[in-house]
C-alpha cells in the first residue's frame, strides 16, 4: 500500500515536472527581502509583514530576512538590485507608488522601470483630499471652484516632496477638473503625513493631501473633513460615509499600492514562482488580517498585468511632472 502511494507520488511528480517545467524553481535556504527604507518605514512594513506570512504558511523553505537599505527614496536599493544582485533568485524588493514616481521623474539616474521585473502588488492605500473642521470648504466642488478662480488661493500640505505622490494627487484632481496653470497651485511638503495634518488643523495650511491610513485617527475624531477619497468605489466599513471624487464628477483614482519587484536577471521560471507565491499570499487570511489592521484596501495585480500597470503609471506621472516643469 505504502509502496504504491509513493510510486504514484513519484509518477505524479514526474508528470508535473514534465508538464510544467516553467514552475520547476523552488527556493532553497533563506529569502532576502530588501526594504529600501529605515526600520519603521512603509517598505520596511511591507517586507516584514509579507515575510511573516511567507514563513507562517510554509511557502518558503527557511526564513525571510528583511534587510534595510535606505537612500535616495529607494534609489540605492534599486541600483543595488540592478547592478549587484541581477541574478539573485532569492531576492524580492519592496516597492510602492513612491518607486514609480521617482522612476517617472528620472530621480534614479540612468535607471528605468525596465531594469527589474515587477512581481505583484498586494494592497493599496487610497488618497484623500481633506480640510480642517473649521474650513470654509465643505465639498470638493467648492474647493475646485476656488482653485479655478485663482489656482494660488488654496494651499495643500502633504507628506511627500514636491512632485511626490501626495503632490501628484492634487495635480491629478486639478487636471481632471480642467484647471490650467497647475504650477500655480501651492503645495507644502512635510516630513510625514502627520506633520502636514497638524498644520492643516492649526489653520496654517488650507487643505491636506495624503493617504487614508495615516489620517484615520483624525477622520474619526472629526478634526479632518474628507472632501474626496480617490478610489473607484466607496471604501468598506466605517469609511463608507466618505464621498469619492468620482461620484462628484472628478475622475481621479489614486491608489498608493504596495508590492514587490525582483531582479531582471532571473529566469521566467523564477519570476513565475514569485508571481504565483505572492498571489497565494494575497489569498491568505493572515494577509487579509494584516491589510485591515494597517488600513490597506483590496488591490491586487501581478505578473504581466502588474508590469503593464507600472509602465502606464510611470508614463502618466512623467507627463504630469512635465506639465508642472519638474522634468524636461
Amino acid at each position: 500500500m505504502r509502496a504504491k502511494t509513493s510510486l504514484s507520488l513519484i509518477a505524479a511528480t514526474a508528470l508535473t515536472l514534465s508538464a510544467s517545467v516553467a514552475l520547476a524553481f523552488q527556493p532553497s535556504g533563506k529569502i532576502d527581502c530588501l526594504a529600501p527604507s529605515d526600520p519603521g518605514g512603509g517598505w520596511d512594513f511591507t517586507c516584514r509583514s509579507v515575510g511573516r506570512v511567507l514563513e507562517q504558511q510554509d511557502m518558503v523553505p527557511a526564513s525571510v530576512q528583511t534587510t534595510n537599505m535606505a537612500g535616495a527614496g529607494g534609489g540605492v536599493a534599486f541600483a543595488h538590485t540592478v547592478s549587484k544582485r541581477k541574478n539573485d533568485e532569492q531576492l524580492i524588493v519592496a516597492a510602492s507608488t513612491a518607486t514609480t514616481t521617482r522612476l517617472a521623474q528620472k530621480q534614479f539616474p540612468g535607471m528605468n522601470a525596465d531594469m527589474v521585473k515587477w512581481a505583484a502588488a498586494l494592497g493599496a492605500d487610497y488618497g484623500i483630499i481633506a480640510v480642517g473642521k473649521d474650513s470654509p470648504y465643505s465639498t470638493l466642488d467648492e474647493l475646485i471652484a476656488a482653485l479655478k478662480e485663482n489656482p494660488g488661493s488654496v494651499s495643500f500640505a502633504g507628506g511627500s516632496a514636491l512632485g511626490g505622490w501626495d503632490h501628484l494627487k492634487v495635480l491629478q484632481v486639478a487636471k481632471a477638473a480642467d484647471i490650467d496653470n497647475l504650477r500655480k497651485i501651492k503645495y507644502l511638503s512635510y516630513n510625514n503625513g502627520g506633520e502636514a495634518i497638524t498644520q492643516v488643523m492649526g489653520g496654517h495650511v488650507a487643505a491636506f493631501t495624503g493617504d487614508v491610513s495615516e489620517s484615520m485617527g483624525f477622520i474619526q475624531s472629526g478634526d479632518l473633513k474628507v472632501l474626496a477619497v480617490l478610489s473607484d468605489e466607496r471604501l468598506p466599513g466605517e469609511l463608507a460615509d466618505l464621498p469619492t471624487a468620482k461620484e462628484q464628477g472628478i475622475n481621479t483614482v489614486a491608489p498608493n499600492w504596495r508590492g514587490f519587484y525582483v531582479p531582471s536577471g532571473v529566469s521566467d521560471d523564477v519570476y513565475g514562482w514569485w508571481v504565483k507565491t505572492l498571489d497565494q499570499v494575497y489569498e491568505t487570511d493572515a494577509w487579509k488580517q494584516i491589510m485591515t489592521q494597517n488600513g490597506l484596501m483590496p488591490f491586487h495585480k501581478s505578473g504581466q498585468e502588474f508590469t503593464d500597470y507600472v509602465h502606464q503609471q510611470v508614463d502618466d506621472i512623467h507627463s504630469l511632472s512635465q506639465e508642472i516643469g519638474l522634468v524636461k
Binding site: 535616495a72 512632485g163 510625514n192 492649526g202 495615516e214 483624525f218 475624531s221
Partner: protein, 508 residues
C-alpha cells in the same frame, strides 16, 4: 481626578511582575545601546522591535519594554560623551562639553553620577508634564505655523554664541558649514537635487549619525594616534565615586529648569531632543551668568543638557500619543511599532486606548526610577572602562562605531563618508573650530529652511509674515536678546574675569 484614576490603572499594568521585568531588561539594553557610539536610541528601538515580536508580547508589554529601551538609551548616550568625548547619540553631544573635562580632571565618576541624577530629574519633570498637560500641549503645538517654527530655529542659532564663545567668528563659521552641508540632497520645496553629483547615497542628504560618529569618534582616534606619537601614553585618572549631597543639591535647580526647557522642545514636532539639550545648556549658561565655568568641567554644564535631553525625550511622546506625529526619529520607530500592533495614535488615542497610553506613562515613571537605581551602582563599572589603556580602548570604540554605522544602512559608502567626516573633524579641531555648531547646522538646517520657504510660499513672498503672529514676535524678541546680550555682558564679564585670572596667576 480622572487623570489620577487612569494613572493608578496604568501603574496596575506597569507593575505586574512580567512588565516590571521587561522594563528592567529594556532599561539595561537601552543603556548599553545608548552608550555605543553609532547606535542611537532610534536604531536601538528598531533593532529590538523584532525581539518584542518574537517574544509574542501583548501590545502594552511590548510598548513598555520599548519605552524602557528608549529612556535607557537617553541615559546611556552620556556615558561615552563623558568618558571618551564621543557622544553616543545626537542629544548627548552637549554633554561632552563639560562631561569630558570633568573626566579629564579625574572626576568621571562624579560626572556620571550627576548626569544620572539630572537625567532622572529632567525625565521626572517631563513625565509630570506629560501626565498633566498632554492634551492641552497638543493644542499648543498646533498654533506653531511655519513662521513661528522659523523663528524658533533662528532662536536656536542666535544662542549658539553661548556654547563655544571664545571666538564667535569660528562658531559662526562652523554653523555655516553645517548649514551648507544640510542643503545636500533633495530640495523638498522644488524636488530638485542639490550638490549630489549623481551620487545616489547623497540624494536624501547626510545622515546625522554618520556625521556625528565621524566628526567625534574618528577624529578622536586620529587625535589619539597623534598624541601617541608625540607624547606616549596618557591615562585619565580613574576615581572612586565620592559625591557629596551638597553637590547633588546644587544641580537640582539646573536640572529642573533643564527638564522644563527640554520638555517644551520635545513637545514641538521636529524640534526634538537635540534642540532640548542644546537650549537647556545655553539658557542655563545665560542664567548663571558670571558664576558658570561651563566648558571647563562644570557639574551644572553636565546636568543642564542631560536633564534637557531626557525631558525632551518624554516631551516628544506628547505629539506622538496625542497627534500621532513623531517628534523625533525614535518616536517615529515607536509609532511604526504601534501601528503594527493595530493601534493608530491620534486625537482619539487617549479615549480609545487609555490602558495603553497610561500604561506607557506609568512605565516611563517606573523605568525612570529603575534607571536611577541601575545607573548609580553601575558608575563604578563604566568608569573601569577608562582604566583600559587607550591603545586598546580606542580601536575597540572605533570598531563598534563602524559596525554600528554599517548595520544601519549596509552601505560601504557610508563608511567612507564617516571617515571623510573624521578627517574633517580632525582638521576643524586642529584649527579650533568647534564641532557642535556644525552638527546643529546640519540637524536644524533642513527644518529651518523648510519652514522659511513654506512661510514665504503661503504669503506669496511677503517677508512680513515672519513676524505677523504674537508667538513669532515673542520668539524673535527672545532670539534678539539672546544674540545681543553676549556682546554687552560678555566684554564686561571678560574684563572682570581677566582681572580675576590675573590675580590667580600672580598668586601662583
Amino acid at each position: 481626578m480622572d487623570t489620577l484614576n487612569y494613572l493608578m490603572q496604568g501603574f496596575g499594568v506597569a507593575l505586574t511582575p512580567m512588565n516590571l521585568l521587561l522594563a528592567l531588561i529594556g532599561c539595561f539594553l537601552g543603556t548599553l545601546i545608548g552608550a555605543l557610539p553609532g547606535l542611537g536610541p532610534a536604531n536601538g528601538v528598531a533593532i529590538l522591535i523584532p525581539l518584542a515580536f518574537t517574544l509574542g508580547l501583548p501590545p502594552e508589554s511590548a510598548l513598555i519594554m520599548l519605552t524602557a529601551v528608549y529612556s535607557g538609551a537617553m541615559y546611556g548616550g552620556r556615558i561615552s560623551s563623558i568618558l571618551l568625548n564621543i557622544p553616543g547619540d545626537e542629544p548627548a553631544m552637549m554633554t561632552c562639553l563639560d562631561g569630558y573635562p570633568m573626566a579629564q580632571q579625574g572626576k568621571a565618576a562624579e560626572a556620571l553620577a550627576i548626569s544620572a541624577v539630572a537625567s532622572f530629574i529632567g525625565s521626572l519633570v517631563a513625565c509630570i508634564g506629560l501626565i498633566l498637560l498632554a492634551p492641552a500641549l497638543a493644542k499648543f503645538a498646533l498654533t506653531f505655523g511655519p513662521a513661528d517654527y522659523f523663528a524658533l530655529f533662528v532662536l536656536a542659532f542666535a544662542t549658539l554664541g553661548g556654547i563655544t564663545g571664545k571666538n564667535p567668528m569660528k562658531t559662526l563659521l562652523a554653523a555655516a558649514l553645517g548649514l551648507m552641508m544640510s542643503t545636500i540632497g533633495i530640495d523638498i520645496s522644488t524636488g530638485n537635487q542639490r550638490y549630489t553629483f549623481d551620487i545616489l547615497e547623497l540624494y536624501e542628504g547626510i545622515d546625522f549619525i554618520i556625521a556625528i560618529v565621524g566628526l567625534f569618534a574618528i577624529s578622536e582616534l586620529l587625535f589619539f594616534i597623534e598624541r601617541r606619537i608625540s607624547d606616549g601614553d596618557e591615562t585619565i585618572k580613574v576615581n572612586k565615586l565620592k559625591i557629596k549631597w551638597k553637590e547633588i543639591l546644587a544641580i537640582i535647580p539646573t536640572s529642573l529648569r533643564g527638564g522644563v526647557v527640554g520638555f517644551v522642545a520635545g513637545v514641538l514636532p521636529g524640534a526634538g531632543a537635540s534642540l532640548g539639550s542644546f537650549l537647556s545648556y545655553t539658557i542655563e549658561k545665560r542664567m548663571l551668568g558670571s558664576k558658570n565655568r561651563f566648558g571647563e568641567g562644570d557639574p551644572k554644564g553636565v546636568a543642564a543638557p542631560e536633564s534637557g535631553n531626557n525631558g525632551a525625550a518624554n516631551g516628544a511622546l506628547v505629539p506622538m500619543l496625542t497627534l500621532g506625529i513623531p517628534g523625533s526619529g525614535t518616536t517615529a520607530v515607536l509609532l511604526a511599532m504601534l501601528v503594527s500592533l493595530n493601534i493608530t495614535p491620534g486625537p482619539l488615542m487617549f479615549q480609545q486606548h487609555a490602558e495603553i497610553v497610561w500604561g506607557v506613562i506609568a512605565a516611563l515613571l517606573v523605568g525612570n526610577f529603575l534607571l536611577l537605581l541601575l545607573n548609580i551602582p553601575m558608575v563604578g563599572i563604566f568608569v573601569k572602562l577608562l582604566s583600559v589603556p587607550p591603545k586598546y580602548l580606542m580601536p575597540i570604540v572605533t570598531l563598534v562605531a563602524i559596525v554600528g554605522i554599517y548595520s544601519i544602512s549596509h552601505s560601504a559608502f557610508d563608511l567612507y563618508f564617516m571617515i571623510f567626516f573624521g578627517v574633517l573633524g580632525y582638521i576643524l579641531r586642529k584649527i579650533e573650530i568647534p564641532l557642535v555648531p556644525v552638527i546643529l547646522g546640519l540637524l536644524l538646517g533642513p527644518e529651518m529652511e523648510k519652514n522659511l520657504r513654506h512661510a514665504m510660499m503661503l504669503s506669496d513672498g511677503d517677508w512680513a509674515v515672519l513676524w505677523s503672529s504674537w508667538l513669532s514676535i515673542a520668539i524673535w524678541a527672545i532670539a534678539i536678546i539672546g544674540l545681543i546680550t553676549p556682546y554687552i555682558v560678555g566684554p564686561m564679564l571678560r574684563r572682570r574675569m581677566r582681572v580675576k585670572t590675573a590675580d590667580e596667576v600672580t598668586e601662583d
